[in-house]
Symmetry: C2
Subunit: 299 residues, 2 copies
């Protein structure tokens, strides 16, 4: 499908893509660039890529597909490194969770003859690093493509085919829509998980009590999400700050409503809300985005 694919940033997502490329034989050669030489060594040792180097400018040369899989705050650095060595006619994509600012930044800096099409495979676990990736990560997950002004139709089709080979279902969306929807389905849940775990830690410190051991009643689920990559999420919230702020306001306003209903012992209202929220679970399972097995079989 491609001659040479270069993955910049071989963490959970980058290494999962590399593994899936190799497994599905989608390129003759997969190379990777990471700032840390330890990571580059690991990538080679684990046979994730054929070559790995911290010299991004050099290793990107001749690639017909370049995938940026670093935290959003590194994009500027990456783009400045590759802009003079990227092949004309190549496809450039990324896997970032916020689109608007990233797309503008790259449009401004990349040669016109490069097809820049942003991607967002909605998949992940709470683990980070090249050792945590696996080739099946994208199976049955949605990947949203957001073509920039600088993208050719035939390349959008090719990239779509690429993600489908990795197991994804593909939707095309503009940056504004993407950043709004993801602030609801992904960014806000993460922020809330971070906040509830942070609130717990503050109380734990103040009261000096071991409350963690009683976490099986709900808290433990949030700690999984709140164990996600700190740098990646810091960048996401800041790059999508307008939508995140709006969502925080809506969330707080609804939470205050619930508080009032609890205070007034408004049984009917609470039951109605909690019954509605139960239904959406079924929709998610039917959409193939989770399994119905209770507790994810961790019992």
């Amino acid at each position: 499908m491609f001659k040479k694919i270069c993955i910049i940033g071989c963490g959970l997502i980058g290494s999962s893509i590399a593994r899936a490329i190799k497994k599905n034989k989608l390129a003759n050669k997969v190379v990777s660039s990471n700032r840390s030489n330890n990571i580059n060594k690991k990538v080679i040792k684990l046979n994730i890529a054929d070559e790995a180097s911290s010299d991004t400018k050099k290793i990107v040369k001749g690639s017909d597909l370049i995938i940026i899989a670093t935290p959003l705050s590194s994009y500027k650095n990456v783009v400045l490194k590759i802009k003079s060595s990227i092949k004309h006619g190549a496809i450039l994509t990324d896997v970032g969770s916020v689109k608007k600012k990233a797309i503008l930044l790259i449009e401004k800096n990349i040669p016109k003859k490069v097809s820049w099409i942003s991607s967002h495979p909605i998949a992940g676990t709470e683990d980070s690093g090249p050792e945590s990736g696996f080739s099946e990560l994208f199976k049955n997950r949605w990947c949203i493509l957001t073509p920039s002004k600088q993208s050719k139709n035939k390349d959008i089709k090719l990239l779509e085919k690429f993600w489908k080979k990795l197991g994804c279902r593909v939707d095309i969306m503009d940056a504004k829509q993407h950043d709004y929807i993801l602030s609801i389905t992904s960014h806000m849940p993460h922020l809330v998980a971070y906040n509830i775990v942070n609130t717990t830690l503050k109380i734990k410190k103040k009261k000096d009590r071991n409350i963690v051991k009683y976490s099986a009643g709900g808290l433990r689920d949030f700690t999984r999400i709140a164990a996600s990559n700190p740098i990646m999420w810091r960048d996401i919230f800041i790059q999508n700050k307008e939508n995140t702020s709006k969502m925080i306001d809506e969330f707080i306003s609804n939470l205050k409503d619930l508080k009032k209903a609890i205070k007034n012992k408004n049984e009917k209202k609470l039951e109605k809300i909690f019954t509605k929220t139960k239904k959406i679970r079924k929709e998610i399972i039917e959409a193939g985005q989770d399994i119905s097995k209770p507790d994810f079989g961790r019992k």
Copy 2:
């Protein structure tokens, strides 16, 4: 261990206890009482109990251990039904998630010669009903005992042994402590999950968009918790409303702090908080309250 155990309310928790009693041979006879005759039939058909009837007053007779496993709002009804037929010298317990009000209510209504010791096994899944229970539910989970004024030491020891046979680790705590700690580790996480799913539903309705399909980025985890039994949780929040209100206020205040940090692009602060929250995950796994497998193997 017991001659006859009566379980009032054979849902997820009640039926899991019954199954574990049978599996571990902890009683000669297990009976169950449920308001709905359909449930009573199901309980017999699934071989969860030896007898089942909606006549609670009658079926409770002669039991040396009675376990109330209904939603909290049914306690008053249950107690009024059993108060004249409960055996003197029997142990009465429950499995409720809030203690203070329930303990007072039962102390007021139950004959003095009954040993009333409240229990809270911190275990569960998002499923409800007798078909969803399983005997291993309590394995390695904490069970908190809150003895009332009306409990004998030897009975506390016996009940402790009972929960340990079911696989629990047991702690003893007063009602005030219990209700405070559980508001942090269980009630608040559930309320927040209900609230984020409710917020999503409101936006979905307003915008008429299918956003559920993109839920693999975080939201789906919350929908699992927000699929828990609506009646049970309505009762929990109302019975623990003072602690819940306090926790909501702390949660909102911390969330506003995060909003400010995001608005000001305070990278250092965000990174510091998200790094702290990552650590607690390790503690929970080390405490045996979750497994380290990422994504609970649902990939």
